[in-house]
Assembly symmetry: D2
Homo-oligomer: 355 residues x 4
Amino acid sequence: MLVVMKAQATPEEIKAVCEHIEGLGYRAHPLPGAQRTAIGITGNQGEVDRGNIEELAGVAEVIRVSKPYKLVSRDVKDEDTVIRFAGTDATIGGAKLAMIAGPCSIESREQAFTIAEQVAAAGAQFFRGGAYKPRTSPYAFQGLGEEALKIMAEVRERFGLRIVTEAIDHEALELVAEYADVIQIGARNMQNFSLLKAAGRKRKPVLLKRGLAATLEEFLMAAEYIMSEGNYEVILCERGVRTFADHTRNTLDLSIVPAVQRESHLPILVDPSHGTGKRNKVLPLARAAVAVGADGLIVEVHHQPDKALSDGMQSIVPEQFVQLMDECSQIATVLHRSVPRGIHVSESAAAVSAR
Amino acid sequence: MLVVMKAQATPEEIKAVCEHIEGLGYRAHPLPGAQRTAIGITGNQGEVDRGNIEELAGVAEVIRVSKPYKLVSRDVKDEDTVIRFAGTDATIGGAKLAMIAGPCSIESREQAFTIAEQVAAAGAQFFRGGAYKPRTSPYAFQGLGEEALKIMAEVRERFGLRIVTEAIDHEALELVAEYADVIQIGARNMQNFSLLKAAGRKRKPVLLKRGLAATLEEFLMAAEYIMSEGNYEVILCERGVRTFADHTRNTLDLSIVPAVQRESHLPILVDPSHGTGKRNKVLPLARAAVAVGADGLIVEVHHQPDKALSDGMQSIVPEQFVQLMDECSQIATVLHRSVPRGIHVSESAAAVSAR
Amino acid sequence: MLVVMKAQATPEEIKAVCEHIEGLGYRAHPLPGAQRTAIGITGNQGEVDRGNIEELAGVAEVIRVSKPYKLVSRDVKDEDTVIRFAGTDATIGGAKLAMIAGPCSIESREQAFTIAEQVAAAGAQFFRGGAYKPRTSPYAFQGLGEEALKIMAEVRERFGLRIVTEAIDHEALELVAEYADVIQIGARNMQNFSLLKAAGRKRKPVLLKRGLAATLEEFLMAAEYIMSEGNYEVILCERGVRTFADHTRNTLDLSIVPAVQRESHLPILVDPSHGTGKRNKVLPLARAAVAVGADGLIVEVHHQPDKALSDGMQSIVPEQFVQLMDECSQIATVLHRSVPRGIHVSESAAAVSAR
Amino acid sequence: MLVVMKAQATPEEIKAVCEHIEGLGYRAHPLPGAQRTAIGITGNQGEVDRGNIEELAGVAEVIRVSKPYKLVSRDVKDEDTVIRFAGTDATIGGAKLAMIAGPCSIESREQAFTIAEQVAAAGAQFFRGGAYKPRTSPYAFQGLGEEALKIMAEVRERFGLRIVTEAIDHEALELVAEYADVIQIGARNMQNFSLLKAAGRKRKPVLLKRGLAATLEEFLMAAEYIMSEGNYEVILCERGVRTFADHTRNTLDLSIVPAVQRESHLPILVDPSHGTGKRNKVLPLARAAVAVGADGLIVEVHHQPDKALSDGMQSIVPEQFVQLMDECSQIATVLHRSVPRGIHVSESAAAVSAR
């Protein structure tokens, strides 16, 4: 159920409607829009009696939402969600693409700083790096944990990059929410509903990766879990699905980008690194992701990929990232969007093409 | 790395070898077999120096395990794992099939008792019922929680059934481990490595369901996560994978049963309810699962499936479960195995066929 | 559209209705049932005017068929189709399972006779063998062609086995229809509609294998193509679909068996050889196929699988086929069905188990 | 096996080597390159004795090809294949993208001319249109057959467009090869090896669509079938594969584009119409296809998609095609490639954006 407020409704009226809804035992989610505020109602098993609500001051109409997802839906909020980061001009969603880059795992302060310096120079506003790694084998490198989070906090200080890192469980979530700017929920946890709800109670944006076998509806419902707890800053991310095809590690499903944008106001990024699993396919698929209309990219970059403790096969080197930023920037222009410009971009790009 | 002890090695010698391994900073996993004990070594990133270990008293040989999974492997333990439940003759693994039945969700004491009585009468030794439900939608019924666990504890008292129920997160795990006899980890959590490790620190058997897009190797590695923490009582369960096919909710992959049995000593069950998602397909696929060699079944049974709060579409009625037990019992005989016999089975079965 | 004739309608009345339909420019398909004859009408793009037809002598009612498939549907013919072979007691469909066995490819007269003798002794009534092989590589062995067909005709003479072999194109179809008893259409040709229609104009039964990515509806529609040309003796065959799972060559989807049987009157077989691609999985999946309710099996048997020119990996040896027949026979009994008995079966089986 | 000729080898020497190879009972495939000619040898089951061949005049070296595909491989021919059409500047392969557009089915002369005029004006050099339609249902519109071919021949005369149309069987192939400029083999026939070989004996380029469940290797092997018969002008085309995802009709696997380009010298196009099955996704995926590096597009365009006899759901209108050409042209520039320019393009595009 969705309460659409009148354009001229006052904050007090909105607050009163929310209190009325909560008083009925439901949960109210005020969602401000450009023209007017809508208030989503969740927590109802059956039908909410709309009669009284329609009579409250400031209410324009009460409408039923027939889709299984509500808060993620454009029915509830038509304008694109744009996530802002206080004190910076970094955004996720909107005309400017969000570019997130960094190593699969934080391996050392030196490694992190080396890579961060280069991706920042190339224009990335976000630094990614794993502190807690979900690994198929219990005997594989599991990440440096809080030590990695501290290193990334230093990276933020030094290079002005916002930090994106994965929380693999409730314990990690507490620390990630403390140190990072964006909490990542990995593909294998896309339906870890307990973790989704906990992330929904944090007040930091959540980057939610699509599960390996998730349908569009399941993907949006996972976002709905986070939003239903009151955290409306959710960023979706396509990272490839599992199919019979064996020429890439996963099959990157770029059609989910316009499909999400049709249904939902949430931004959607693409991860061409996990989506292909092969260094030589990252650039072409990154270009394609921007061309299809993605709101940004998350890319694995490592200065010594052959020595990386995880995912070296799919990490590109910093020089390739410069080229990626350059090409994506040009493609973004075609869609009337932009990619943040790095320093010395043209020189670096020239250097690369001269090789 | 695997240390194979001599057939006549004493408990003291085994203990001494374990202590030696732990002293080297690794973890030792003594795995008693019919003929001799093997000791798995985990926690080593690289090569363990085998020289000294081979010289210890009672050691027959030290061999490298080349597969990514170790403790789950038949290389480490050749005989089938049989899980026993103190004070009962219920087992999982071995010649006698384990039959687990009950509703998707525990809805009330009355509902649970009604169903439990009937599945017990039909021969089931285990009662399943959801207390914590992982639901695609945050607005769907999420289970009764601890209240459901208490009801199931009463069911155990009243009908002598062992209790199987799912732990969806760490918090639920604590309670499930307290009340239930078998801790279930659901398909969506198969790669929730944090939860797997926590379950590995409990001392109750863990029933691990295959993820919707999990390969055989990933499935076994998930079991390895549990075992690497010292809990060697893991039960695998095929419940259908996600494919393009749309005539069933999932595609039940029965070939995983002989594939698991070739690689691993762990028992493997089949869930024909989630595996098909359709009531009219549960019986045929249950028969097929027994015929392919599964070590048991887990089946959703509800006396009023059309009123069930979850999964009614795929729940069979108690009379169908009687027929299922009867047919599966006959097929088990062909494989020189047996299904536990209920009371009045022949009469009930006769009643069903007379309909 | 379907014309249901009265139970007492005469052959002349049925003929008159068919002629009336054909006179309207449609195609009439008389489908005799146990109680009454139904006449399917195809060839109509839009709505057929039912008015006049209902007035014809012997017509009980005219009903619309809403499903995309008509002639394959139980709406049109409720009783199971049983295909008979003149001069033999071999059948496909009905209570007695059809067992088809033989090598992937016919390699020589000696090879074919050696295998045929053994599978006949074990009870198979049908001999399979490839004369024309659809191979992924143009440089792989493509079959002996007509020479193989002649060898199989000799096999029929010598051992009384009915012959099943694949027609890969129109040219092969002419020869296969001449020499063989059952025309096989392979999985890769399931939507080779031109070949389906040509097979529909032959008057020999057609065994149609499910395509690697075919849905239930597409599978039934492919059968409809054959039937729409007037050949009503179609046998469906599940042989595994393509998924992400890599522990078998294909994923055998046994749930399609009850799904087909619910929708269609056509018999459905299972091919556990292609369905798994691994010799050690053929027996368990063959048992499962019988248990799920398949109307028979098609199995690759080779006396020297390691020297086979194709598919040796998935061929079982004759002794394993004896065991397969024995176990499947026992399981069939549970479903009140039977498997044909070979000569000396108990002795051979005893010999196998004594190994 | 591959014979690499010296750079200065004469045509007579090349011919002599081919004759020598054929004299040994193999098949010789001379493949001219920019620097030198290579001669592929096929038809050998085992090892070819390389000794004598290496001694022939003009031979630089004889090398083994270890991959299952030979003639399609860059090992045999390193430069990109560019297909030219006599008397026109239309090409497929190389820096200029090939743009193929037109209706799913040719429905009438008027329909074909209306659409052809608009796609030609927008810059397309190729006109597609179905004369023979592979339809899931035998009762669906199957195409106008030769009448459609004649209409397309008129389209070529009138608008200078090269004609691309599908041959669904041997009979249609004869006519398509007579009337059309490019013979299309559809996805469902990708492993109709008999048809592939027949197309390989024609001397017109063949556009081969990827099967719904085809791996990269199978796709390339299907092209190898065509080439092994002597037709070296093969164009590959990705058109979506079948997965669990249900937000599009198929899942467009753009990563196959760089994967093909790494292995093979053949051009590869993308079909965003079948690849998505939804009109609103054609433009974004067309842009992505160009950005990933495809050598061109094949797109369904219909001026009245709601009245189309087939595939109306996925056909774009001519105005959208103008926009597609415009956006793809800009993206192609980023990759240092170009899209052919239509007449009045800027005006038309302006008209569209003004809507």
